[in-house]
Symmetry: C2
């Protein structure tokens, strides 16, 4: 019963860094980021960007349409319908997740009529056509670990099945016990040590690219699983909008480093072997969820 995927633990050659030593080995992560070319950055696509306004500030989510196309489409339609404008963070569980919804989960969801009330699961997807950029040092949880379109991901090389990994900041679709019970009407964000046991058990729709520091400090709920026991504790949204429904000057002017770029490969190399004076023992290793995908303010024209 145990080793269903025994290949998970097999030694993986350190494909990136060790086989391709480069000048990046002696550069810091900051130096690699600063010297990345313009072509190695991409603008957020407003059609895949959600803006959440909270009294404390804004949270920006990038959607992952190739990872879970049906769920992303439903979330986009929900945002566009104004559905989440009466939403709130209703759960904050320490070292785990915050979660939002429009109404208490005990009440039956009543989504706008033109929107799917539940969706077949998209826990994994056929990723054989995706550019998959491997993390350099393997993974405890996945036979292959790396990045797809800027999102941390696991992959089974035998089948090409691919899934988003539950790293800090990723956004998933809450559901009940029925795998097809999620709709996107309630979403959660990882705020602690990556709960990788959730991988391949939930349909993942994106990643927070700005504002994690607002979500992660919400007081922990005192109810079961960190749900707030009173609506007085909810962090209520002011508004939730698709970037493409905002005026251009209101959109988040963020760029994400392309994870299939040479600079991102060099960044992983620099991050695994820190050469700053502080480090007596550089790890010479890095875990998937310790690799941060850089974000920056788009340079003005």
């Amino acid at each position: 019963m145990f080793p269903a995927l025994v290949t998970l633990l097999v030694w993986q050659p350190p494909t990136l860094a060790a086989q391709q030593p480069s000048p990046a080995a002696a550069r810091t992560a900051a130096e690699v980021i600063d010297s990345a070319s313009e072509a190695e950055w991409r603008n957020l696509d407003p059609e895949n960007t959600i803006h959440i306004s909270l009294p404390q500030g804004r949270v920006i989510i990038e959607l992952a349409p190739r990872v879970a196309p049906r769920h992303v489409a439903n979330v986009r339609a929900l945002v566009r319908s104004g559905y989440f404008d009466s939403g709130a963070i209703i759960r904050s569980q320490d070292n785990y997740v915050v979660q939002w919804a429009v109404r208490p989960l005990a009440e039956e969801d009543t989504l706008p009529e033109h929107i799917s009330q539940s969706l077949d699961a998209e826990f994994t997807v056929d990723g054989r056509g995706f550019p998959f950029v491997p993390a350099p040092d393997g993974d405890v949880y996945s036979p292959e670990a790396g990045f797809v379109d800027g999102f941390p991901a696991g992959r089974d090389p035998a089948t090409g099945q691919t899934w988003m990994a539950h790293c800090y900041g990723v956004v998933g679709t809450a559901r009940g016990v029925d795998p097809a019970s999620g709709s996107g009407a309630s979403l959660y964000v990882v705020i602690g040590q990556a709960p990788r046991h959730l991988d391949r058990n939930l349909s993942m729709v994106g990643r927070v690219v700005e504002g994690m520091g607002l979500l992660s400090v919400l007081p922990r709920g005192t109810g079961r699983l960190g749900f707030y026991e009173s609506e007085d504790s909810w962090a209520v949204f002011d508004s939730v909008r698709m970037g493409s429904d905002l005026a251009p000057e209101e959109r988040a002017a963020l760029q994400i480093m392309r994870t299939d770029s040479p600079s991102f490969r060099d960044l992983m190399t620099a991050a695994r072997s820190r050469h700053e004076d502080f480090f007596v023992h550089p790890a010479d290793r890095i875990g998937l969820c310790n690799i941060r995908v850089p974000t920056r303010i788009a340079p003005s024209d």
Copy 2:
């Protein structure tokens, strides 16, 4: 330059769970914890327990004297001298650490005369005599990963050198670039994804066993590295005491599950293969920092 510890990635037999299937395989983690015998729990030793009182509540730290004996002794002496009573959380960096000290770090430390102002590093320790309980599925960062005295740890089997792993909630000694510049006068707690690149670079003194939910929600500092830019933002301690200096009825009546007990082994097995109906794809894997050491209120006599 890269694979200084190439054995880190070598396949490790799943020693615990797969080779010793037990009835625990079909039990949930909660069931394993509930059925642990009294002998599988231990009381916190008041001489190794720090009580921090904050306006928001209390934080309880268990010290790890075998991991860093000099640093633990210095921290104990600092607490006992009342040094930390005018301390405060001065840093909160998202997905990384909170840190405390008595005064701004820019000022020179002036510790009580009888206390060491700085200590030789204790980044690793000879752990050949320690009971080392391996985690079942290996680790990206350490050749061996597991638990010593209830603390997450890495170990080099070739030398027996052992170190505390930077998992959520562990407490380390802040220092400057000089490895011998730490005294215990400033300590930090991991509040996000385990920053394992810090392993073997800092002297680790313990682990928070109660109150992480208070520390992890402190507003993030807006200065460099998450330091607060104004002392108005500091979370000031009401008091910091050794458990042994409190009246018995004021001490935290907590018990920790022994990590060298059969129930802890069964707990790791249950946590890696979740059989609750929710899980469509049990991970059948678990990472070191995803293994939680249970704490409970001591049963009354």
